[in-house]
């Protein structure tokens, strides 16, 4: 099995990071996911996914200033790497291939 394959949840987390652009840090990603997918997302699964995406090299992170409300702990902003973008494109490609030709059934 390809260990660098994208899972469904990893896929949507990457998309949410791309949408948030420079503002992508964990609580914002969580809010974006819940807003766009209309489903509750658990914080635990998202942090584990961020760890995994970073291990796979699909995202990188940088520290930013700690706010007053964070007990002196820095924010960690994430952005999608070139490898991550490439993976997303490939994933979109394969999904498009699968979608093509199903309009007649799905639009009924």
């Amino acid at each position: 099995m390809d260990r660098s394959a994208l899972g469904e949840f990893e896929h949507i987390v990457l998309l949410a990071i791309l949408r948030l652009s420079d503002e992508a840090y964990a609580p914002a990603i969580l809010a974006e996911l819940e807003h766009r997918t209309s489903r509750a997302v658990s914080a635990g699964s998202m942090y584990v996914t961020l760890d995994r995406l970073q291990d796979k090299g699909f995202i990188r992170s940088r520290f930013a200033d700690a706010g007053d409300a964070r007990g002196g702990r820095p924010r960690r902003y994430v952005s999608v790497t070139a490898a991550g973008l490439k993976k997303l494109r490939a994933s979109r490609e394969s999904l498009f291939n699968l979608w093509t030709g199903l309009e007649a059934i799905l639009d009924r």
Partner: protein
């Protein structure tokens, strides 16, 4: 600002995310979210934080377990265990036995007391119990004008608004024939709405309908239990429609009950359900006879109806009854309880106590076995110290080492748990063969799996954690160099194991000695009457609602009939044999005085003329009841004119001089004391208790046993009585038991517990012996060079023995003190259940102490002797 997030939740977050790249920012993110939510509501923010903490703890915990290293480590641990098959085998068998035995006992407790009945909405099933309002307790004898069957019939006509349906059952032993031949079947004789009230459906065929159950004599249908279907019919799919013989009738099997339903009766699994109208046919009794066994009434609450509303309806019903017939129902009451389980602590506290004693015993044994396994694991940890040292030097964290050791323990426990399930199943089958425990059924469901998992987790904790911590504590460089720096600590741990084992053995031995002592006292003490040549006759068919005159006439006729039997010397009647705990207790007070604030509970018994002469008890003053002591009319029944008290009650109420004084039962009419009898002991409570006796023929009891004194051999006389008394009656032959047999019933509790505890103590001693053997062997091996030099220089052998055994003497002494303290505490606890009769007894305690010393001596001496017998030169060459 809202302040800090909840401390424990924050700790969970920090610990769980410690290895995450997002660790510190994650804590900050949550802090930020907490602050934001806290501005609106502090409670809301805390609730949110806790949810996040649990989610993060769960996900990071899972991801840590699932990481690749764990698979490699598990495979490594499994390989190491396979390489040591003897060690693995011994440990797995020990754990399987322990886990299995604990699971089986906990399952019994669960089945009887915790598990809900396997019916829809069991919380809505309520029991309605007849009580004697005067005694303020359930009257198990069902005495009085009212019978439970009669009460049920009246209740059916009453308007109990809180119930959607009302049903009843009574238990009867019936004899099957043909496919159902063999042992008598335990049968539930049910009223129409029985299955409808429970809301269950048949697994095959159908269940008995209301119209079938209530129409007398014309619905010969039967529902059989799942067990009977499997055992007698080999789970034949075509069983429905088959004809079987029960009693003197032929019944058609219409269905098989659900497999998880063993009936509502806790004292034994129900085999068959038959319609109430068919009871006479099934029990082989005359059609006119009314079955005497008490009827248990239950109903289903309407949705949202509280139990209190049914109780209020029942109270109104009782009030109406009392108004309609003051004499018959003046002491009658009804009690409504939720009946969602097989039984409850309130219904059967003794059962809970016995189960708990049994479980403590098994748990202690399991603990002893686990300490031995821990000792073996410690020895393995010591053997692996070089490997662990190298791992630590190469950068393995202490957590990794701990995990590796715990994995090995977890693997052993997992295999042990699988074996444990098999052992538990086997034990459950054995337990199911005991009639009074057969209502418990073995089911391997989520609940059982959780039980096994909990027992297994505790087991791992008991035997795995200590050696694992020991491994992880090693100093890397010293042990990698092969310096046994941890050897001393490992020896210390082994010594602790021996202390625990000695303590457990002493506790079990002392407990066993107390129960064996109790049995010895029970079997040898003078109960205050003559056990030999006395038989108790119990009639199964007696007409529970016979009228007062019938009762007296029947008494006189039965006494005359018994006296005609050759070899019979004296005959009397009583409610309950002298050795039975009749459970009839009440408040007896000096007549005319105010009711005491805390009145004495007195054991009560209703007895016929000549009772004390028949059982060979001595009257110390006055006379016993005779033919004069009978109610003059129906209206006078229940009001006692005369009474007899035992010496203890006489002392308590009148300083011993009781003759001619008057006592009062509850708020009843005063009765004159005409006799004082010597204190007698029923076996269930060997200590003397205050007792009062009232004339059976003045009482409202319709049921009674005949007590017969014979001159010949007990056993053959009993057979002769059974044959003679059965002839001419319209019911089944009576049950005749000798008084010695009756006594053996309650005595079997102390005998069985004593035997069980002695067996458990023997196993504990064996385990302890292995522990001591190991310690002395290790000491002898470690000091073999020094000992060889001493022997070579001419030290006497006994000095060498003393050197080796001195060290364990201290441990054994300490363990024994801990054990005695534990034993004292356990026996105190058991005394609070069983009464002061349970006490250490010199002879059994002496034998137990002797046995303990002997085992310790052998276990210590054998390895010590082996160490001194090897020629010193050989030993020194090998050091």
């Amino acid at each position: 600002l809202t302040g800090e997030p909840p401390g424990i939740a924050e700790w969970i977050v920090r610990t769980a995310a410690a290895e995450s790249a997002f660790g510190s920012s994650l804590v900050g993110d949550l802090c930020e979210g907490y602050e934001r939510r806290g501005r609106q509501s502090r409670a809301g923010a805390e609730w949110w934080y806790w949810r996040q903490a649990i989610s993060i703890g769960f996900h990071f915990g899972l991801s840590r377990i699932a990481r690749p290293g764990i698979v490699r480590d598990t495979a490594y641990a499994a390989r190491r265990l396979i390489e040591a098959p003897l060690f693995t085998g011994v440990v797995v068998i020990t754990l399987a036995l322990g886990i299995g035995a604990n699971t089986a006992i906990l399952q019994l407790i669960d089945n009887f007391y915790l598990r809900k009945l396997p019916v829809p909405s069991p919380d809505r099933i309520v029991g309605i119990y007849s009580i004697d309002a005067r005694l303020r307790s359930e009257n198990p004898l069902g005495g009085g004008e009212f019978s439970s069957a009669d009460v049920f019939r009246r209740l059916q006509r009453a308007n109990l608004r809180g119930l959607t349906s009302l049903a009843s059952y009574s238990m009867e032993h019936v004899q099957g024939s043909g496919d159902l031949g063999g042992d008598p079947l335990w049968s539930a004789v049910i009223s129409g709405a029985y299955f409808e009230t429970l809301g269950i459906t048949a697994q095959r065929g159908r269940l008995i309908r209301g119209d079938e159950a209530d129409s007398p004599g014309d619905s010969p249908v039967v529902v059989i239990s799942d067990r009977l279907w499997r055992e007698k019919f080999g789970a034949d799919e075509g069983v429905v429609g088959r004809a079987v013989g029960i009693g003197r009738g032929t019944f058609t099997i219409i269905g098989v009950a659900p497999s998880n339903f063993t009936g509502l009766h806790p004292e034994g699994r129900t085999d068959i359900w038959i319609p109430g109208g068919m009871v006479a046919v099934a029990t082989n009794a005359a059609a006119t006879a009314k079955h005497a066994n008490p009827v248990v009434i239950f109903g289903r609450l309407a949705k949202a109806a509280p139990t209190a509303s049914v109780q209020a309806d029942c109270d109104n019903f009782v009030r109406d009854l009392a108004e309609s017939d003051v004499r018959a129902f003046q002491h009658f009451g009804l009690l409504v309880h939720v009946r969602d389980r097989l039984t409850s602590y309130e219904a059967s506290p003794t059962g809970v106590h016995l189960f708990v004693v049994l479980w403590i015993m098994v748990a202690l044994l399991h603990l002893a076995a686990c300490t031995n396994v821990a000792s073996l694991m410690l020895a393995r940890a010591s053997a692996r110290r070089r490997e662990i040292g190298i791992r630590l030097c190469l950068g393995a964290s202490r957590g990794d080492i701990l995990r590796l050791s715990l994995l090995e323990a977890a693997l052993l426990a997992l295999v042990g748990a699988m074996g444990g399930v098999l052992v538990a199943r086997w034990l459950a089958t054995l337990i199911g063969q005991m009639q009074f425990l057969s209502a418990s059924i073995w089911t391997f469901d989520a609940r059982m799996s959780a039980l096994v998992a909990i027992v297994t987790a505790l087991t791992i904790f008991q035997f795995g954690l200590l050696p694992a911590l020991e491994s992880a504590r090693n100093e890397p460089l010293t042990i990698a160099r092969g310096v046994p720096a941890a050897a001393r600590r490992i020896r210390d741990r082994s010594e602790m194991v021996v202390v625990v084992q000695v303590a457990i053995s002493v506790a079990l031995l002392a407990n066993a000695a107390a129960f064996v002592g109790l049995y010895r006292r029970q079997s040898t003490s003078d109960p205050g009457y003559d056990v030999s040549h006395t038989a108790v006759v119990r009639f199964s068919e007696s007409g529970a609602v016979a009228s007062h005159t019938d009762r007296d006439a029947r008494h006189d006729s039965l006494v005359r009939q018994a006296l005609r039997i050759p070899g019979v010397r004296l005959v009397s009647a009583a409610v309950g044999a002298p050795l039975f705990d009749t459970r009839w207790q009440g408040e007896v007070n000096v007549s005319g005085s105010q009711l005491a604030e805390s009145p004495h509970e007195t054991a009560l018994q209703a007895i016929g003329p000549g009772y004390f002469a028949t059982i060979g008890a001595r009257i110390s003053a006055g006379r016993e009841f005779d033919d004069r002591d009978r109610a003059s009319s129906k209206s006078a029944r229940g009001d006692f004119d005369v009474a007899i008290v035992n010496e203890m009650l006489a002392r308590r109420l009148f300083d011993g001089n009781a003759l001619g004084k008057r006592i009062q039962l509850g708020r009843g009419k005063p009765a004159t004391i005409v006799g004082v009898v010597r204190d007698m002991r029923d076996v269930s409570s060997v200590g003397d208790v205050p007792r009062a006796y009232f004339p059976l023929l003045e009482s409202t009891f319709d049921e009674f046993d005949l007590i017969i004194r014979t001159s010949g051999e007990d056993k053959s006389e009993a057979d002769r009585i059974r044959q003679s008394m059965g002839r001419g009656g319209d019911g089944a032959p009576p049950i005749v038991r000798t008084l010695a047999e009756v006594r053996d019933g309650p005595m079997s509790m102390s005998r069985a517990t004593g035997t069980g505890l002695t067996g458990a103590a023997a196993i504990a001693l064996f385990l302890m012996a292995i522990g001591i053997f190991g310690i002395v062997s290790i000491a002898a091996a470690r000091r073999r060079g020094e000992l060889a030099i001493r022997i070579a220089l001419g030290a006497p052998t006994r000095t060498v023995h003393a050197l080796l055994l001195k060290a364990i003497g201290r441990l054994i002494g300490f363990g024994a003190i801990v054990g005695v303290v534990c034993a004292f505490a356990i026996i105190q606890l058991e005394r609070s259940w069983l009464g002061p009769v349970l006490a250490p007894e010199p002879l059994s305690s002496g034998i137990a102490a002797g046995g303990l010393l002997l085992v310790i001596g052998i276990a210590g001496f054998v390895p010590s002797r082996r160490a001194t017998r090897r020629p010193p030169a050989d030993v020194l060459r090998s050091v």
